[in-house]
């Protein structure tokens, strides 16, 4: 049974703008799913509905088979962690250690255990050598990892990453892949919004496309990136290798290795 489920969910902002219309999706434990789509397609709104930061106008959100309607956002956030798109919306402590430890301190965990968990998570996120620094002394990219660590350390069942690849270099992008795999190995659900199509090809087996406030397709990267009609409708582009293959008359190619395979 799906652990996290959106059932015919719609959302309207207070100014009357409908951001999400009749969206349904399900996620099983241990799954890693990418959500892609144009800016303004409703991706961030959809994931904020998952952890109760926003509440649906219609439809319902279920976590572990229970509707979250009667739960507070704080209660839902214990199970569904959301890493903000803009790290500066989330950071508020004066050291990285404190930032990562904050949620654990609130949970009443003992100092020694907190220390162990903070250090383990910091190492996973590449922050082990900067724990005493002020978060704003670090680059945007590193600040993003601080916010990821602050969520991951709380051990939620679902980790939602909102554009973690924005502004990341090659090594940081690889690190993101590692963090996601570390989470799924622990049977967590990882949901990632990204515009980096190469990252999607490399890291995901399931991709959800959103466009014009709705879910348009939920399939494998190969199915998505060779569904030209869908890409056109959603204003998305194929990854470069797919574009290359397509112009030379090949199909269903995704990676450099696939392309070498078909051209040889």
């Amino acid at each position: 049974m799906a652990y996290l489920e959106l059932k015919n969910v719609s959302f309207q902002y207070p100014n009357g703008y409908t951001a999400v219309e009749n969206v349904s999706m399900e996620f099983e434990k241990g799954e890693k799913v990418a959500i892609i789509g144009q800016n303004g397609a409703g991706k961030t709104t959809t994931v904020k509905l998952m952890n109760g930061l926003l509440r649906p106008a219609k439809g319902e959100v279920l976590v572990g088979g229970t509707s979250t309607e009667k739960y507070t956002t704080a209660q839902i956030a214990k199970n569904v962690g959301y890493v903000f798109q803009n790290p500066d919306d989330q950071i508020f402590q004066d050291s990285i250690y404190k930032e990562i430890a904050f949620g654990l301190l609130k949970s009443g965990m003992g100092k020694a255990e907190i220390d162990k968990k903070v250090k383990e998570t910091a190492t996973l996120c590449g922050l082990e050598n900067v724990l005493e620094e002020h978060p704003y002394n670090l680059s945007y990219s590193k600040r993003k990892f601080i916010t990821i660590a602050a969520i991951v350390v709380m051990d939620p069942d679902v980790v939602i990453l909102d554009e973690p690849t924005a502004g990341q270099d090659r090594d940081s992008t690889e690190r993101l892949g590692k963090i996601m795999n570390w989470l799924t190995a622990k049977n967590k659900i990882v949901i990632t919004i990204t515009h980096d199509m190469e990252f999607v090809v490399k890291e995901f087996e399931r991709v959800i496309v959103m466009a014009k406030k709705q879910k348009r397709r939920d399939a494998s990267p190969k199915e998505i990136f060779w569904d030209e009609e869908l890409l056109k409708f959603s204003n998305l582009k194929q990854p470069y290798i797919c574009q290359f293959a397509s112009l030379l008359g090949y199909r269903d190619v995704l990676t450099i290795d696939d392309m070498i395979g078909v051209t040889e």
Binding site: D88, D169, H195, L236, F244, L248
Partner: protein
């Protein structure tokens, strides 16, 4: 005319022991598009802050070497004068929004208002920018209600509004979807045609390859590689320095049939090359 010369530039932030920019020497010529690449924290943003005078003016610290803008020492400019020559868009668009304007139209006009551009001229300019940046549907919205990608486009338009000779864009597409990213690169092309000098910090290497004339690769504060895009971005050494290469280049490097700058940089070049060879 805008030319920027840096000679043996070194910089150290206050209270830090390590140099963030080491012995940087380079001449940026007018009208070219420069792709400034390299890993996070390799000194790219710091270098741009030196070029726009925020270092040492605002950040303090120890700056050595010579920096000339249009033949004049950078220290001889006052910050207002320099700001009208060198435009800069922040890496994080969320911090560039002024916070004092409640719609996008006025946000774009804000810089012009501050320097006293006449009203009629201001309206004409904002209308142009709205069209250029595809902001028609957003003009009446509050800048804070925009998505990350929309904010980024508004922030860029606000900077271009002041018509600087040198345009520095620090990761201008980090929050953008692929389509809007290409729109920004098209704007880079338009600015290039207007004769502007453009310095672009960008991780999306496939687009850097398509739009930039020259590449500068930084690694731990040093300029480790520089040259024409077709020379630098076909060289696997870039990877050793933590840089990235375009997907198409990676394909040809792995396939192993082409070498050096014979390797096409973009999908378009690659397809043309293959079709041409097939005809032979």
């Amino acid at each position: 005319m805008a030319e920027i010369i840096l000679k043996n530039v070194n910089y150290q932030y206050p209270l830090e022991e390590k140099e963030v920019v080491c012995d940087f020497t380079y001449c940026f010529e007018q009208g070219k598009v420069y792709g400034l690449i390299g890993e996070n924290e390799s000194g790219k943003t710091t270098l741009c802050n030196i070029i726009r005078g925020f270092i040492p003016e605002l950040y303090r610290g120890k700056l050595e070497g010579e920096i000339l803008i249009n033949g004049r020492k950078i220290s001889s400019y006052d910050s207002g004068e320099l700001a009208s020559i060198v435009g800069y868009s922040f890496q994080n668009p969320f911090v560039q929004i002024s916070g004092v304007k409640d719609n996008v139209y006025e946000e774009i006009a804000y810089g012009m208002e501050n320097i006293g551009v006449p009203r009629e001229q201001m309206i004409k300019r904002v209308d142009e920018l709205v069209k250029m940046f595809h902001l028609e549907e957003l003009v009446d919205k509050n800048p804070y209600e925009l998505s990350g990608g929309q904010k980024q486009r508004v922030a860029l338009a606000s900077m271009i509004a002041l018509d600087p000779e040198v345009v520095i864009m620090d990761e201008p597409t980090s929050q953008l979807d692929p389509k809007s990213t290409e729109d920004i690169f098209e704007i880079v092309n338009i600015l290039k045609k207007q004769g502007k000098t453009i310095i672009l910090i960008e991780h999306k290497i496939d687009l850097v390859a398509e739009y930039c004339d020259s590449i500068l690769l930084m690694h731990q504060g040093e300029l480790v590689m520089h040259g024409d895009a077709k020379d630098v971005l076909t060289d696997p050494k870039v990877l050793e320095y933590g840089g990235q290469l375009p997907q198409i280049v990676l394909y040809f490097l792995k396939q192993g049939k082409l070498k050096g700058n014979e390797i096409p940089l973009t999908v378009k070049e690659a397809v043309e090359k293959i079709l041409k060879e097939a005809q032979r």
